[in-house]
């Protein structure tokens, strides 16, 4: 394809999957919920400087901190356990 200057990123757009019988109708399909992708696109494209893994704010931070705590804590536990396991058995 070659590099083009200022290539626009492909916008997912409102071209979502429409109803079964008449493709081409506007996105007013309500089968199993309405299309909330445009709203989410606005949320995730806000210029707030947040990285994508924290973009939603509080719930992202909590999940990240839980994962971090479990992983870092676990790594320390692992090093301790391996140290203990490496001690010769003194009977």
């Amino acid at each position: 394809q070659g590099l083009k200057p200022l290539v626009p990123t492909e916008s997912p757009g409102p071209d979502a999957i429409f109803g079964t019988s008449k493709p081409g109708l506007p996105a007013t399909d309500t089968f199993l919920g309405t299309n909330k992708v445009p709203d989410l696109q606005k949320v995730f494209q806000r210029s707030d400087g947040l990285p994508v893994h924290l973009k939603r704010g509080y719930p992202d931070r909590m999940l990240y901190r839980t994962t971090m705590a479990l992983t870092i804590g676990g790594t320390f536990y692992c090093l301790v356990a391996l140290y203990i396991a490496s001690q010769p058995k003194t009977k």
Binding site: I17, L32, Q41, L70, T71
Partner: protein, 261 residues
């Protein structure tokens, strides 16, 4: 806001790679602690953190693509290469276990009674549940292709129906295989027959579960309008993986269940 002069995706700094590596450390050392010292805590921490990292990393990929638009055709091409290479590596993984099976079964040793199946082993009848499982996976290959066509034709209800059927068929296979495992007259400890049978079919079953999970996530995303009729690579990747799982089963069925009985 500055714009990039290229069509590649420069990702935001992310903690998931290093935390994923740590989770792998916890899982492997946890296995050691469980095997040798009967302590499951480290393993539980490892599996939990692995699941959390996978959840958040893939969640972020969905955010970057569907919500932020970073998956240009160039990026998608790279993802396609990546998935193809990954599936190829999995094919080599299974090749090893098929090698082990043929090594032992083509020239059965005197310890096995010089025959295959070995003396004392009553193999499963390939014309019973295993044949049904073959039909289930073949049918699921049809339904996933039907789902793909429905997506490209922008037929929402049909796509959801076909993909739901695919997922259900996958669960049906897993349930039947679990029952077969429970009812089998031989175990993994029954010599090289048991080892080759359960390790090969066991890893296959794990891949069925992984593939079913991948397809379930795609079903959820399909319902939530994430896919468009000409951009749905996540679904295509899941479908490729599912076809691969199906092909591995066909080889397993013919070699281990049928020829090996």
């Amino acid at each position: 806001m500055a714009h990039q002069a290229h069509s590649y995706h420069m990702v935001d700094p992310s903690p998931w790679p290093i935390l994923g590596a740590s989770a792998a450390l916890l899982t492997t050392s946890g296995l050691t602690m469980w095997f040798h010292f009967h302590s499951p805590y480290l393993l539980i921490m490892g599996l939990t953190s692995t699941a959390l990292v996978m959840l958040q990393w893939w969640r972020d990929v969905v955010r970057e693509s569907t919500f932020q638009g970073h998956h240009t055709p160039t990026v998608q091409k790279g993802l396609r290469y990546g998935m193809v290479l990954f599936i190829t590596s999995e094919a080599f993984f299974f090749l090893g276990f098929f090698w082990a099976f043929f090594h032992s079964s083509l020239a059965p040793t005197p310890e096995l009674g010089g025959q295959w199946p070995p003396v004392g082993i009553k193999p499963l009848n390939p014309m019973e549940v295993p044949l049904l499982n073959t039909a289930i996976l073949l049918a699921s290959g049809v339904t996933v292709t039907w789902a793909h066509h429905s997506i490209t034709e922008a037929r929402r209800k049909q796509a959801i129906f076909a993909l739901t059927l695919t997922v259900l068929l996958g669960f049906y296979f897993t349930a039947l295989q679990a029952m077969e495992y429970y009812e089998a007259p031989f175990s993994i400890a029954d010599g090289v027959y048991g080892s080759t049978f359960f390790v090969a079919t066991g890893f296959h079953g794990l891949h069925v579960i992984i593939g079913s999970t991948f397809l379930s996530v795609c079903l959820l995303r399909l319902i939530k309008y994430h896919f468009t009729s000409n951009h749905h690579f996540g679904f295509e990747a899941a479908a490729w993986y599912w076809h691969f799982v199906d092909v591995v089963w066909l080889f397993l069925y013919i070699a281990i269940y049928w020829w090996g009985s």
